[in-house]
Subunit: 252 residues, 2 copies
């Protein structure tokens, strides 16, 4: 029997205004590398991830550490694939693999991933982060919800479409359709499912032709981000524990 | 030797503001059905196609026929796949197959195709129409130009992505890359080429799952539009023969 829950995919943040976000379970994807890095941080004991839109907002959190005279916020900023000058951390998951982050909050701004979050968070609170690293945990989380249609949002690159985000969207949507009888009438889902099928046997080799790999030459990061199911966590958005309107964080 | 000319694909009109249109050869695609219908009209002797954005603009051309006391403009209007009330013609190519249109101009407004044209025409004048019906003619036309990078614009459905437009974009881009050494660093082109490869053996069967075929149930139109190379024409945009700013037409 068909599940009455529906899946759609927004191919890039520039198309988000075409979707009705109300009552949707929103799944944010930025495979290379924001959502992968955020998952790694939380899996290594981090308390929460606070996404911010601008470098200035990130700077303000650094000032909070100084005024509190203790390190509460790790602050990361990435633009165009590089750590922003004056910051120690960016969006490489490899920066978050070796540490125990117990009790620390990660404040992070990135070129694409935090932009997609920003566009989603003001519309609806039900939002999670997905990467290949936690893909099956995400699929199970979505399936265990009682209702809510699903909208997967691909972060892309500066508003445009990126193929790696589509492949993960295809993994998630094809699983929900095949195993849990979700349905879809969307050409984006048809596209994602087909692209995932033709690339899944050797995704690294397939992605060698991608814009990201051609541009960034970050093979170690790419290999890390393509590992499937190395953790069992799902970062879930909440804005209840933040005083300032529009702010919130992901916790597990 | 690699051609220094580049190809990119805009997946839907809602993403057009992310592309630099200057000095681009723009190729407009609306497989189901606007660009297919326009090609058929011109191939059957039509003088020109004048795309307009609104039904009101189309009405104004009907009034011109009356004041000139002769039929100069055929006027077509389609919204949501249907002929608009008060008009005799819409965007079905089957409406344009049986007649000789010598000397007549077709004024047409459609849900998606004329919207993509509208977004392109104010930026740059070098614009052509593509369909499966004239695909090889389009490829040869582009290759014979001396320079200009190519931007293929998929009209989609109400701003969103449609898979049939991507398949034709893939046919055109993969030909230009394989046979004429054009190059691309775009994930949209990677996507289009892969999707064309997996669907080309039986495109009708592949598209049975598409949003358009599920929604519209227009199998005869779909079959007609998927015929490859039944004509050898390329509709080219010009605004030199229209007094009013922003207006122009496609001729062959």
């Amino acid at each position: 029997m068909q599940n009455n829950r529906k899946i759609d995919i927004c191919l890039a943040p520039s198309m988000m205004n075409l979707f009705d976000l109300s009552n949707k379970q929103i799944v944010i994807i930025d495979v290379f590398r924001a959502t992968s890095a955020m998952c790694v941080f939380l899996n290594n004991g981090g308390l929460e991830v606070i996404p911010v839109s601008t470098v200035e907002e990130a700077e303000a959190y650094k000032a909070k550490n100084i005024s509190a005279k203790k390190l509460k916020y790790l602050v990361a900023a990435e633009r165009n694939g590089k750590v922003v000058s004056g910051f120690d951390l960016g969006n490489s998951p490899l920066m978050y693999t070796r540490k125990e982050f117990n009790g620390l909050s990660l404040v992070i701004t990135t070129t694409n991933g935090t932009n997609a979050i920003e566009k989603s968070k003001n519309h609806y609170g039900n939002m999670i982060l997905a990467s290949f690293l936690n893909a099956t945990a995400v699929i199970n989380y979505i399936n265990n919800l009682e209702n809510n249609d699903v909208l997967i949002v691909c972060s892309g690159w500066k508003g445009r479409f990126c193929v790696e985000d589509l492949l993960l969207a295809g993994l998630i949507s094809s699983n929900l359709i095949s195993n849990y009888k979700f349905h879809s009438d969307s050409d984006s889902v048809l596209l994602a499912n087909n692209m995932y099928q033709i690339s899944k046997k050797n995704m690294f080799d397939f992605l060698v032709q991608s814009s990201y790999m051609q541009r960034m030459k970050l093979n170690q990061d790419v290999k890390y981000c393509l590992q499937k199911d190395i953790m069992d966590i799902v970062p879930v958005w909440s804005c209840s524990n933040h005083e300032k309107k529009g702010y919130g964080s992901f916790t597990i």
